[in-house]
Amino acid sequence: MSWWHRLASPTRFMSYSAWVLPIAGWLAAGCIGVGLALGLFASPADYQQGETVRIMYVHVPAAWMALFCYSAMAASSAGYLIWKQPLAELATRATAPVGACFTAIALVSGSLWGQPMWGTWWVWDARLTSALVLFFLYLGYMALAEAFDDPTRGGKAASILALVGFVNVPIVKFSVDWWNTLHQPASVVKLDGPAIDPAMLVPLLLMAAGFTFYAVAVVILRLRAMVLERKIQALQRQLAEAR
C-alpha cells in the first residue's frame, strides 16, 4: 500500500509517458527513414574512402548514443543516490541495455569499417580500447543491478558503479585528442566547425536524431514495464497476505 505513495512520481510518469511514447516512436521512424534514404542513395561517396563512408551513418550516431546513454545513466544514478528518487534508479536500469546495444553496434560497425580502410578489424589504441571498456561497464552495471535479491541494495551498488564508470566517458571522447590513436579525431564536434561535407552531414545528423528518439521510446517502454512490474510485485504481496 505505502509503495504507491512513495512512488508518487511514477503515477505522473505513467500518464505523461503515454503520450510522449508515440511521438518519440514516430519521430524516430521518420528521422531514421529519411536519414537512411539520404545516406544510402542521395549522399556522395567520400573522395578517399569511397562507398565505405556510408558506414559512418550508423557508426557515428551509435557511438554518440553509447556516450549519451551512459551520461544519462550517471545523471539518474546521482539523482537516485542524492534524492532517493526510486524512478531515477529504474530509469538507470531501463537505459543500460539501450546504451549497451548502441555500444555493440558502434564496435561492430567500426570493425567492419576498419578492416577495408585501415587494414585491420581491431587495434588496441586508446579510442577502441576505451570504447570496449564502456561496453563492459554497461554489462557490469546490468549484472550488478540484477545480482541482489533485494532490489534496493542492487540498485544502490549498481548506481555507484554507474557513477564510478562515468570517468571513462571523457576518456572515450577525448582519447583521439590526448594520445596518438589509429582512430581519427572528431569530425563534427570541433572548434572550427564540422570537417564534413553538408551532403554527408545532413543524413548523419538525421540518423543521430532518429537514434535519440529511438532511445527515448525504448527507455519509456522499458521504464513503463518496470513500474508495472513493481506494482505487480506489491499486488502479489497483498494477495499473499490476504490469503
Binding site: G50, P97, P116, L221, A225, L228
Partner: protein
C-alpha cells in the same frame, strides 16, 4: 544502376553487414522491450480483476 548500388563500389561485404547488424540489434531490443511491457500489462490486468473477487470471498 541497382547493380552498382548493391555492390557499394566493391565494399558490399562491409557496408551491408554494418547496416544489417544495426537493424537487427535495434529491432530485437525494441521487440523484447515491447513484449516485456505487454506481458506486465496483461499480468497486472489479471491481478486487478482477481483482487475484488478475493475480497468477496474473505471480507
Amino acid at each position: 544502376m541497382t547493380d552498382g548500388f548493391f555492390a557499394m563500389g566493391g565494399y558490399a561485404a562491409y557496408v551491408w553487414p554494418a547496416f544489417g547488424v544495426t537493424a537487427v540489434v535495434l529491432a530485437a531490443l525494441l521487440l523484447t522491450s515491447r513484449r516485456r511491457l505487454k506481458a506486465s500489462e496483461a499480468l497486472l490486468r489479471d491481478l486487478e480483476s482477481a483482487r475484488p473477487r478475493r475480497r468477496e470471498v474473505n471480507p
